[in-house]
């Protein structure tokens, strides 16, 4: 299989690469056949556009764009009134502004956390699995310890200790989420290590790094991609919960914080703030869950059986 490609030369190597791309196109096509997945992708695209083009959609508030501009003349006004499409909260903060700029924060949060945890988790997990022995044992005990504390509670404690701020939420989530990826990649490496074609590659003389690069990583990529996609949604969910509880700075246009801001209004009948902010969270998480599930159905041979 792929381990032979180091022995091949010239045109055969090329055909191996083109086969890889053909397979990727095939996978993409299969993924797109699922209407739910497509819906998820569309929603993600919309959020992406919203986040990137935020300054164009609404004028950035000064000095801090992540604080909603306050219209003190129109506090607690319902949607559609006085030019506030989604209404305002009890301090006159425009909700549409909040949702749009909140998408930037969500993007920032999820991308940073997911990419960081992927990298950290992969490195640590690979180290553990490739070296094996005492290092592996130790690292896996560490992972066990991390996993015995429920994610939200762990992140909550870290963020509380560091001090309420958005940046600390990111740090806290990175510190908690990396274990998942470490475990996945370690599992994959061990599985591949035991597989026969690695033994064949060793016989041929492939170095450890080459085996890792060509045999291990391509196979491990699948569960990692699925998990990363799902985590893009999960991170925002947990992050919103943390800011709802109060671990973000005051007045931040983060969706969870916005829901919290709208709480008091709820009981007075001002439903729109919490509702729309919360809807944004739901849509974001839903989109990534749909895409993640769609990917899993296609990539994972042990699918649920549709």
């Amino acid at each position: 299989m792929s381990s032979l490609s180091s022995v091949e030369m010239g045109s055969t190597k090329q055909s191996v690469a083109s086969v890889k791309w053909a397979r990727r196109r095939e996978v993409a096509r299969e993924v797109l056949q699922n209407p739910l997945t497509v819906i998820g992708l569309v929603i993600i695209l919309l959020f992406l556009l919203m986040a990137i083009f935020a300054p164009l959609l609404t004028e950035a508030n000064q000095p801090d764009p992540y604080q909603s501009p306050r219209d003190w003349a129109n506090i607690d006004s319902p949607p559609g009134v006085a030019g506030h499409v989604l209404g305002t909260d009890s301090q006159g903060g425009d909700l549409l502004y909040g949702v749009i700029w909140g998408s930037r924060l969500s993007l920032q949060l999820s991308l940073t956390v997911v990419i960081s945890t992927l990298v950290i988790g992969t490195i640590i997990g690979s180290l553990a699995a490739m070296r094996g022995g005492r290092l592996d044992n130790f690292l896996m005990r560490v992972v066990d310890v991390f996993l015995s504390i429920p994610e939200l509670i762990f992140a909550l404690a870290i963020a509380a200790v560091l001090g309420p701020s958005f940046r600390n939420i990111i740090l806290a989530l990175v510190a908690v989420f990396w274990v998942k990826y470490a475990r996945i990649i370690r599992g994959e490496i061990i599985r591949v290590k035991q597989a026969e074609y690695v033994a064949a590659a060793r016989v041929v003389g492939d170095s450890t790094w080459n085996i890792y690069r060509k045999d291990v990583l391509p196979n491990a990529v699948t569960p990692l991609i699925v998990q990363a996609t799902l985590d893009m949604g999960n991170v925002v969910l947990i992050g919103a919960t943390l800011s709802f509880i109060g671990l973000a700075q005051a007045g931040l246009t983060e969706w969870g914080a916005l829901v919290s801001a709208g709480q008091s209004g709820l009981l007075a009948g001002h439903w729109w703030v919490s509702t729309f902010a919360g809807l944004a969270i739901v849509l974001w998480a839903l989109a990534f869950n749909l895409v993640g599930d769609g990917l899993r159905d296609v990539l994972d041979p042990k699918t649920e059986g549709r």
């Binding site: 005990r141 560490v142 066990d144 310890v145 991390f146 015995s148 504390i149 429920p150 994610e151 939200l152 509670i153 762990f154 909550l156 404690a157 870290i158 509380a160 200790v161 560091l162 309420p164 949604g233 969910l237 919103a240 919960t241 709802f244 509880i245 109060g246 671990l247 969870g256 829901v259 709480q263 709820l266 009981l267 009948g269 439903w271 919490s274 509702t275 919360g278 969270i281 739901v282 998480a285 839903l286 869950n289 749909l290 599930d293 649920e304 059986g305 549709r306």
Partner: protein
Amino acid sequence: MQVRDYLIRRLALLPLIMLGVSVIVFTLTRFTGSPVGIYATPNMTPDELAALEQRYLLDQPIPAQYAAWLGGLLRGDLGWSGVSVAPVTDVIGSRIAATLELALAAGIIAVLAGIALGTIAGVKRNKGPDHAARFFSILGASTPTFWFGLLLLVPFYLWLDWFPLGRSTPDIYSSLAHYTGMYSLDALLNGNLVAFGDALRHLVLPAVVLGFGAMAIIVRMMRSSMVEAMSEEYVDAARAKGLPERLVIKRHARRNALVPTTTVIGLSFGFLLQGSVAVELIFRWPGLGQWVTSAILAGDQATIMAYVLITAFIFMMVNLAVDIAYAYLDRRVVLGG
């Protein structure tokens, strides 16, 4: 026997892991402004503070500090809770029952509803009920618990006034003799149906909200294991014996599908613990979750750290219990038949 070995190994690991958790928590405490703050009660004199610092070896290198901290822990000294104005250990005692009651109620709802819906979805695969269940399940996984709680509060509490906030009506509550600390249970043990009704009225809404997310996961797992079970040969064999379909589903397919589902039930308890933070906050439920949220706002480190330790411990115990149950249920796997 394999079962016993496996369980002994798990039990042996438990203290080790708890130790690891304590290391993490200890590390976190050293990040806070003043490590002694955990133990300091208000209105302490500088002399008393100095004495505390002596006691917990705060002038010594870190390992010694850890030893002192751990020693204090094992002696039952978890510090002073600023928000509750009492030693942490006292507060835990009074609040843990409330959280457990909520988690149990939510868990029961999640498990029963989840199994029922998952079974239907698995049997009627790819038809109406299945799509509904899967949609519902994915929605459950995408909805933040706190928002869902708020969403239900408005109609049921604000408009209809069916369910009140909080845990109990004080007069009714205090009229009971408290055996377990769980309102609904105590009401039953007292034979007091009015109190029981009161307990349920307060319990229903937060339990449903809390259980929703966990239910979504269980539905999903139950559905897929039902689909798998229904395609097994013994299901066809049962039909070939002339058994009515209802029996085939219940006694043959579902009984086997429940086994892998127990693992998910354990996992979802973690979700229940996590969700309880927001739910207790929103519904003013006097449990550990509400306690820690007020601690966060007040910067009460002692409470937060104690909360981490407690929840980790509870979580591990539940996981162990689930593993035992699973090992018992899946005799085939365990006994290697």
